[in-house]
Symmetry: C2
Subunit: 292 residues, 2 copies
């Protein structure tokens, strides 16, 4: 938290940048932006960044590619204009799920994205709840992943949950569920998720836990089409759960994701503002401010 | 022209890649591509590129940012999978018009785009009628700009123009007009174009040339909103021109560009296939094949 920083608000993250400036006491600068008639982005830094410690803040969803190119333009421009350092904050990192070659010849997209950010001139990289933390090892600059689990859990705490159970919809979310359960003073249940190799459908195994009279929180890093969460919610309802809350960091909410979750018995969804959505009620800046 | 090359057809340029393979005798490989539900691109090279001389072919319009990210993913994947060289062909290069800092603090976007292509792993870069050839000096790898003027002129030659005059709509297009006039055995006229600093409107000065009974060809590198061409066409018509042809390399045709040109008296527009459009009738592969 350094007052002498300059926070450059990218066009995709005006509020997170503003919030970061408030929390750190740094100067906020809104990057000038327009879209040309042919669809290209125009980027301009309206103040001198020479010798400054600059923090570029830009999430990369929706329109991942457009937001990514804007981010790269901002980073390189700051570097070219003499910034002393260019910390790059991408609250949601596009392409993070393509983190290994599932089949021969596949692009390892998260690697390309991270290396381009570095090639453009980033000197430090910060993101929130990246799909796999190991992906950051593609960077040779410092790469920091912060989690929003605490912020989401503190928000849920206000709801006065009844004897809560925190459900991890798959093994990958286990640590997340344990962290949330600690804050909510609840128990943890981990479901087993499989993707059917033929149909691509997600199958979640049930668990032998009695949830009668207990409120449930399903926690995950990301909601895409909502299928994983819906399966977990159905299982919870079957076991007699009271209210079913869903907490996630990145609410992509593709297509009918909300409808699917509500139909499965979900009462409320909360998410952070790493991506814009109707349920993005938790500001993620406090988690980021700590590592700037 | 090397038979042992592998031509990787990017999703934006299937026909140019196919044509290049025909002309060079190289093997054509169609890059596997899909768009995930969240909008991200999936890229996979379906053959081994280890030790191969690879040519990645992908134009970057429309959806410049999407096409650019796909291109970067293809280049890095080919490099990572052991390609001996990765020649990168972008028939239309997005962001080429943002080639200097018109105002302090502006992104020099063409520089960023070219350097990212190099950072991804390109070992040689080829494009067609880039807005300013000087932009290629941002590369430290070999950068080649080929022109489509000859191909466009040869195509027009079939029209049996009457005592033709080739008009350059501004000074930047002068060499283009002279080259075309040489092939069409015609004269050259260069117009002076100014952009009004207050209104942003394009004003083209007239010229004292009698065009009665003569067919006119207006030639330029790019048609965006069609304003520059329309102004030139009006001047030509005022001077009594017969048929008015327009020839350009990149037909972006934003908004009502075609309508604007037709209203101004343009009879026919032809362009290359560097970008897809209803007037992209001239294949640009022969110009590219020569430098591979």
């Amino acid at each position: 938290m350094k007052q002498e920083m300059l926070i450059l608000a990218g066009p995709a993250s005006p509020r997170t940048a503003e919030h970061l400036a408030e929390l750190t006491g740094a100067q906020l600068v809104k990057v000038e932006y327009k879209r040309f008639p042919d669809g290209e982005s125009y980027i301009r830094l309206p103040v001198s960044v020479e010798g400054e410690e600059v923090v570029v803040v830009q999430t990369t969803y929706p329109e991942q590619d457009k937001r990514l190119v804007e981010l790269l333009l901002m980073i390189e421009t700051a570097k070219d204009l003499g910034a002393k350092s260019v910390t790059t904050v991408a609250p949601y990192l596009a392409y993070a799920r393509q983190d290994r070659q599932f089949r021969d010849g596949e692009a390892l997209s998260v690697k390309t994205v991270l290396r381009l950010i570095e090639a453009a001139g980033a000197t430090k990289f910060v993101t929130v709840d990246i799909h796999k933390k190991e992906s950051l090892s593609w960077l040779s600059i410092e790469g920091i992943n912060v989690t929003a689990v605490e912020l989401l859990s503190e928000h849920l705490k206000k709801q006065k949950l009844s004897n809560p159970v925190v459900i991890a919809p798959d093994v990958g979310a286990k640590w997340r569920a344990e962290k949330a359960a600690e804050i909510l003073r609840g128990e943890t249940v981990v479901l087993e998720k499989h993707r059917d190799r033929i149909t691509g459908e997600i199958v979640t195994k049930g668990v032998e836990v009695d949830l009668r009279g207990r409120d449930v929180v399903i926690i995950d890093d990301l909601i895409s089409t909502g299928g994983t969460i819906a399966n977990a919610a159905k299982i919870a309802k079957k076991k007699g759960a009271g209210k079913v809350y869903v907490a996630c960091t990145h609410a992509l909410l593709i297509g009918a994701a909300m409808e699917k979750m509500v139909k499965a018995g979900v009462d409320e969804v909360i998410a952070t503002d790493t991506v814009p959505s109707p349920v993005s009620v938790v500001g993620v800046a406090p988690a980021i401010a700590k590592v700037l």
